[in-house]
Symmetry: none
Subunit: 229 residues, 2 copies
Amino acid sequence: MKPYVLVVEDEDALATLLDYNLDKEGFRVERAADGEEGLLKVEEETPDLILLDWMLPKVSGVEVCRQLRAKPETRRTPILMLTARGEETDKVRGLDTGADDYVVKPFAMSELTARIRALLRRTRPELVDERLEYADIVLDRGSRRVTRSGRNVHLGPTEFRLLDFLMQRPGRVFSRERLMDAVWGPNTYVELRTVDVHVGRLRKALRISGAFDPIRTVRSAGYALDQHA
Amino acid sequence: MKPYVLVVEDEDALATLLDYNLDKEGFRVERAADGEEGLLKVEEETPDLILLDWMLPKVSGVEVCRQLRAKPETRRTPILMLTARGEETDKVRGLDTGADDYVVKPFAMSELTARIRALLRRTRPELVDERLEYADIVLDRGSRRVTRSGRNVHLGPTEFRLLDFLMQRPGRVFSRERLMDAVWGPNTYVELRTVDVHVGRLRKALRISGAFDPIRTVRSAGYALDQHA
DNA sequence: CGCGGCATGACACTTATGTGACAACCACGC
DNA sequence: GCGTGGTTGTCACATAAGTGTCATGCCGCG
């Protein structure tokens, strides 16, 4: 549910600082200490955005960039370069490396998070927008409220996250495993069937005065948010 | 808490003068020496108002204006243009540039602050106004008083700041961390649960003669000032 | 018609929040 | 300096809300 940011940075102090601050800003953060590890982490799970140091051991930032751009899964993943003053060559400035933006160290954390949000808004607006809508359902992240045709719908935290996730890609079918990861977090282990129960609860909460059921069950595949004809 | 004004002005003496005076008037001021820097500063943190010189190095004031109006975050941010006598073309006078107002140099500082307040009052009244209102609750910053349906409500300093903060954005949910930062200051370390206690105290103080509880608890997220229907 | 997949209500259990009590603290008037 | 009333931060405990599992019964599809 939270945007997943991968930090590829060899300087431990900076990486920790980034980790701490981004976490506080509501991002899920993973760290990699060099280019090689970075590429591995990307293999494991495609990040929503990558923070990439320009100078890295083993595989340089530029090279990582190139490789990421070569792979279809990460071709469009936003990359934000971290450069030291002086490394700020024309190549960086022109973003010829394939990166989408760059900041020069040292930088204010607020500047960095602002740029991260800006990039995410460009590529995955549904990750950062305050308000999601589908049919007559409105989910407002800022006020943490959900309404259906104007009426307020009360959801528990889990149902809220579940609906939030489904509303990010209406129509798309998600497996229970995928929902598990997205809603419960990648390292929680609960019965897969629990997803069914929560979908049920969400359905019940959304079921007001003759409104259609916005969740489609796809037998032996998962669930999707859409109008099942 | 203080309104954040960004001054984009290349003439250093004037910028300093503005900085000094606006600070004295209770604004938080950041400076940018040219259009490019101005846009960067805006990225970092959206100002509550922008003072923009008409003639600027790198990116002109008009161009900055255009770009700010193109971005959703700053579309409604008030912009006050500073122009030299003679630059006062019809375009400026008609505010066709996207600016909300303009003053001609040289100007009296009092005129400028008056215009700034006028603009802020239009867009973010809660920042300028001495009094905040929500439903039947009135908070007066000047006299440091709070009333509910006319009756006086006694609050301790902490509860006052807490209510003040919540009233700035009714409906929005704030995490305990966020409230901690806003009310206690960013570098104080007290138990997170202390927030609960103060919210409780605030609630109790606000609880007079059958009035509804204006604070909504959002489980596993935080608190918001609004009617939890 | 039979079977695996799904929906659902019950329920025991976790977790999060509300609250009263309390000791430390503070500003202030004496 | 020294009480003193008002504030504050923490705790412990009570209460409320949300969660994960299961057993049961239903349903669609082959």
